[in-house]
Symmetry: C2
């Protein structure tokens, strides 16, 4: 953040996966150069980027960094020049990937080259390479800009120190690098997906279930479980007090039962393709792919925010990413001339009520995000709360002045009206394009949480909030401050 | 609801699954009789019920029905007497299930008997039964009180009209009955689970990944996808504009690749059990099973609420369940003597902030839930909004008087202070055990949404809200009404 030099990622192959990588890097402040000979590449990447801009910022609880610069390169050499990281996402053909790696390593050396391959092992990717040590698997999951997982698979020939640096880079763009300890075809996750896919094809082919029924069997049941615990932790819980051994004793013998078509692969012919494509049309054809993408993204945002609220699983990755980004980003507040911008947010579909506007509790949510960032800045942060003290809201007066809609970019600013030992009187504005959509006036009380009553805040906090009050002393007092709700006679 | 006679479910087998069924029936207003010879049954069911009471009401946006009466029966005959529905959840042994069915059908006839079996086909369950037509598979997913899926599998001998009645009963307790069209070992979902389980055992046994790494590979990636779309819809989106056929052309050939250990089953011995149990301890052993259950439940509540906000997948099931329950439950409002209770809620972990109390925007959320129920009651419901008119909140004044904590039961009441053609002035109280934790004063404006300005509400709505105002005319005006936030000089 701040003074650091902008990093550059080169993306070779600009499809859904390459575009997703590009979006994740760009929105996290990296410059990105894409090479893809497809004349449609710019349009396709643009569509992914539009989806990502509407989605990824919704996972962040602080201002996003300035978006990086996107360019389309005419050659691989041009794309990788000066790159700190290179991601290959071309078609799943080994000869093509080998040619790409050869061209890259003719142009630059010592730069990490991750491959999005679903199936090839890193030792296969490295065959014939000028420098095998820089090549590894970095396998992401669609949509790349939302799902944190990247399977990182080195071979024995891969440079281990480079892999450590790469994992840190991926954490910088909010990902969860899962280091796979042994190379294996299809790594880990796709082996599961393939097992389920094979079984699902049988069920459709045999007329046991339609594609829609199979999807319901997943998303109404175990799919919900797997988004927050995986397979083993879920079964550990199912085993109950007796634990994992008990569960395995119960479930283990089933392995020998004829529950899946173990030894057999359905013939993959036009008839099967038509059957499945037809059922899929009947199931989902009333939505366009673009609509489904947006629905999927907003659902995933919702799940991820649920987990973030609980500091669990993928949500922990988001919290750690916020903390990384916050470090060092809090210093410029006093230099701002007016009310200070403490939060930036995008209005999400889940924030919308039946009127089609942002639902009223989300205005207070947006205000709380702003006040929380303010409190962190004055030193009343999580560590302070753990010490037994905090600021509580005593009263709030909200005025609704406009209607925020899906996709609106909102900023939250703070003006300090009054400070004394125990109280802070704030005036928060929620702005869209500089215009107020709501104002939120709040009285905060400094509280000794164990004693359950107000007490004086410490000098360090009072000094910091006092400095902000002094900086705001010359601002006009908002006309709405101190107003009551009333019915004029 | 209301005047309907309480129904009775008999639960045979009171383990985690039977207890989960019992909890779902009880919390949805059914009486439940459990038969389980285990002397620990009452304690075990009690623990499931405690979890369920802390979780299931959080999915509802209206008051829950009065909880049914739970009893433990000394015999199967006693348990099933007068039952409208019977669910068998005993151990996965066919001979035992046959004995249970025989005892049931010696006592009652014409009562549906669902089996929680994971693996047996209904035709197997029916072998030797006095009345096969009443026996079928009703396979739920743990935790039964939260996950909506129940796989309903009849055989050709099962009474089809009875199955339709059962599906409606299950919808009444908030479930999603998935009618499986052909009986097959392990139905649908467990075939997928078994395929993944087998592959996972190989990966652990071969040292490719630990249980924790496998769980991360699932929950950081495709697990999140599957909670909201299933397998086929996810891939339809991945196929992009070219659609499902394109996706299958890409992915199809992989079936022939050696990505999974198709033909082989790992030997299930003590060594494998110890390896997995040991890794699971290292991964999750710092949480007790009870803690993991609560974490899981709260995560699932979060996911389900996300989907409910979006009317998608399992969330649609919840919305439809609310609507079912609401029908006919709106009529008793005017009979209440004081401020009217319009909402009941349980404070969830996700509503808690870093101070350990309910986060401030959730007070307004709870108030909005109350006001929305009020608006539905006066006729300003979703259909009314679709006609182009609505009530918008103009101003809100919140006073925080107490600290709501996880698990607190809150009620929201409405007192109507003033009504005119365009405005409603409300005073909402959020109460815990009858004591105010917050008050929320609001001015609502009746709005022509297309014109974007206030206008007179129609006579029907004014009559209804006017009746409530008249009923409240004798109530004392709240001292806090009309107050402003201010700093005393």
């Amino acid at each position: 953040m701040g003074t650091s030099v902008t990093k550059k990622a080169a993306i070779i192959g600009g499809g859904v996966i390459g575009g997703g990588w590009a979006a994740r890097f760009l929105l996290n402040g990296w410059d990105v150069a894409i090479f893809d000979p497809d004349p449609e590449a710019a349009r396709k990447v643009g569509e992914v980027l539009r989806n990502a801009r509407a989605a990824l910022p919704a996972l962040s609880d602080g201002p996003m960094p300035r978006e990086g610069r996107l360019s389309f390169a005419g050659t691989i050499t041009e794309a990788v020049e000066g790159a700190d990281y290179i991601q290959e996402s071309v078609s799943e053909r080994l000869d093509l990937k080998h040619r790409v790696f050869a061209q890259i390593q003719q142009s630059v050396s010592g730069v990490p080259i991750g491959s999005s391959t679903s199936g090839f092992k890193p030792s296969e990717l490295q065959q014939g390479a000028a420098d095998p040590s820089m090549i590894f698997v970095a396998h992401p999951f669609n949509p790349v800009y939302l799902l944190p997982l990247a399977e990182i698979v080195p071979s024995v020939a891969t440079d281990a120190a480079m892999i450590d640096r790469v994992k840190d880079m991926l954490r910088d763009i909010g990902m969860f690098p899962l280091h796979i300890r042994k190379e294996i075809d299809a790594h880990i996750a796709d082996r599961f997906l393939e097992a389920v896919w094979r079984e699902a094809l049988w069920l459709v082919k045999d007329g046991v279930a339609t594609t829609e029924e199979i999807d319901e069997a997943i998303r109404m049941g175990f799919g919900l479980r797997w988004g927050q615990m995986g397979l083993f932790e879920t079964y550990r819980v199912a085993g109950g007090e007796a634990g994992m051994k008990h569960f395995m004793a119960q479930f283990g013998p089933c392995l020998q039962w004829p529950w899946t078509r173990l030894t057999d692969v359905p013939e993959f012919n036009d008839e099967l393709v038509d059957l499945i494509a037809g059922q899929s049309d009947a199931q989902s054809g009333h939505h366009t792919i673009r609509e489904l993408e947006r629905i999927r993204d907003q659902n995933l945002i919702g799940f991820l925010r649920v987990l973030k609220e609980r500091n669990w699983g993928a949500g922990r990755v988001l919290l750690e990413h916020d903390a990384r980004r916050r470090a060092g980003a809090d210093q410029t507040v006093l230099a701002e001339p007016g009310p200070v911008e403490f939060a930036r947010m995008t209005v999400l579909p889940g924030w919308i009520d039946y009127n089609g506007h942002m639902t009223e509790s989300r205005y207070l949510f947006a205000s709380s995000e702003t006040a929380d960032a303010f409190l962190r800045w004055i030193g009343a942060d999580l560590d302070y709360v753990k010490s037994g003290f905090s600021y509580y809201t005593a009263e709030t007066h909200i005025r609704h002045l406009g209607e925020a809609k899906v996709g609106d970019a909102l900023t939250g600013t703070v003006q300090v009206l009054m400070v004394d030992e125990k109280r802070i009187h704030l005036f928060i504005r929620l702005l869209r394009d500089g215009t107020e959509v709501a104002t939120v006036e709040q009285m905060l009380l400094h509280v000794d949480m164990a004693a359950g009553k107000a007490c004086a805040a410490p000098a360090a906090i009072l000094a910091r909030v006092g400095a902000l009050r002094d900086a705001h002393a010359g601002l006009p007092r908002p006309a709405a401050a101190g107003r009551a709700i009333g019915v004029k006679p």
